[in-house]
């Protein structure tokens, strides 16, 4: 329920499954405003071989920041390799709001690699989640890449930890 003048967020999760090529989805929002319902549109280019994209290759192409045990894991590095012949400027378009912040290199020189890093927010460390971030390049196609981010948290029960300690 939204009072007059209020706002809320709607998170759309897209499971790419075994889709290939360009996929467009239009989830429909049903409200008491009545028909016609409003839509949001998501567009994607699902790739079967994410290790050979152009003009950039992201490694790893899926980030798993899972934590099994007490040792806190709150960040992960990844590499962007520019496989084109021109320097590319990188812009962050979307990041997992409230879960993590993403740092990207400003420019990746032609033929070179640069490092990015994702930092998990303190509030998100006890949570398991699947999110993503999106960046855009300044090539002719203004190519975009979305990198999935997954976190599973499994800690030993407190009693088990005590037993181990004795």
């Amino acid at each position: 329920m939204l009072a007059v003048g209020d706002s809320t967020r709607l998170e759309i999760i897209f499971s790419t499954k075994r889709y290939t090529n360009r996929i467009t989805k239009r989830p429909r929002i049903e409200t008491n405003e009545g028909p016609p319902d409003k839509n949001v549109t998501i567009i994607s280019q699902v790739v079967r071989r994410p290790d050979s994209t152009y003009p950039v290759i992201v490694k790893p192409y899926k980030l798993d920041v899972s934590q099994f045990g007490e040792k806190v894991r709150d960040e992960m590095k990844f590499t962007l390799t520019n496989v084109s012949e021109t320097n590319l400027t990188v812009t962050l378009v979307d990041e997992p709001y409230g879960y993590a912040t993403v740092q990207l290199p400003e420019v990746i020189e032609a033929g070179k690699s640069a490092e990015g890093i994702i930092h998990l927010n303190a509030d998100a460390l006890d949570q398991s989640f699947e999110k993503s971030f999106t960046f855009e390049l300044d090539d002719e196609q203004t190519s975009r890449f979305t990198v999935p981010v997954k976190r599973t948290v499994r800690k030993p029960p407190a009693s088990a930890a005590q037993t181990t300690g004795q």
């Binding site: 709607l10 759309i12 999760i13 989805k25 192409y61 999110k131």
Partner: protein, 66 residues
């Protein structure tokens, strides 16, 4: 006294008309998002902002996958 009564009735009448015409309205300022390249067999997500811009309470009843 009569004037006050008529004015009050007019005011109440106008309020009733305004209330009857009040309508909820959903506004989605940015309703499209391009993920670009996405790997197969993965989950990605994007958050859209929804605004209630009508003059009555907006109820979101359902979101159906497209």
């Amino acid at each position: 006294m009569k004037k006050v009564l008529i004015t009050t009735l007019l005011f109440v009448g106008l309020l009733a008309v305004a209330s009857a015409n009040a309508a909820p309205r959903l506004t989605v300022p940015v309703s499209e998002f391009d993920f670009g390249y996405v790997p197969q067999n993965s989950n990605v997500s994007h958050t859209f902002w929804l605004h209630s811009t009508g003059d009555d309470t907006l109820r979101i009843l359902n979101v159906k996958p497209g």
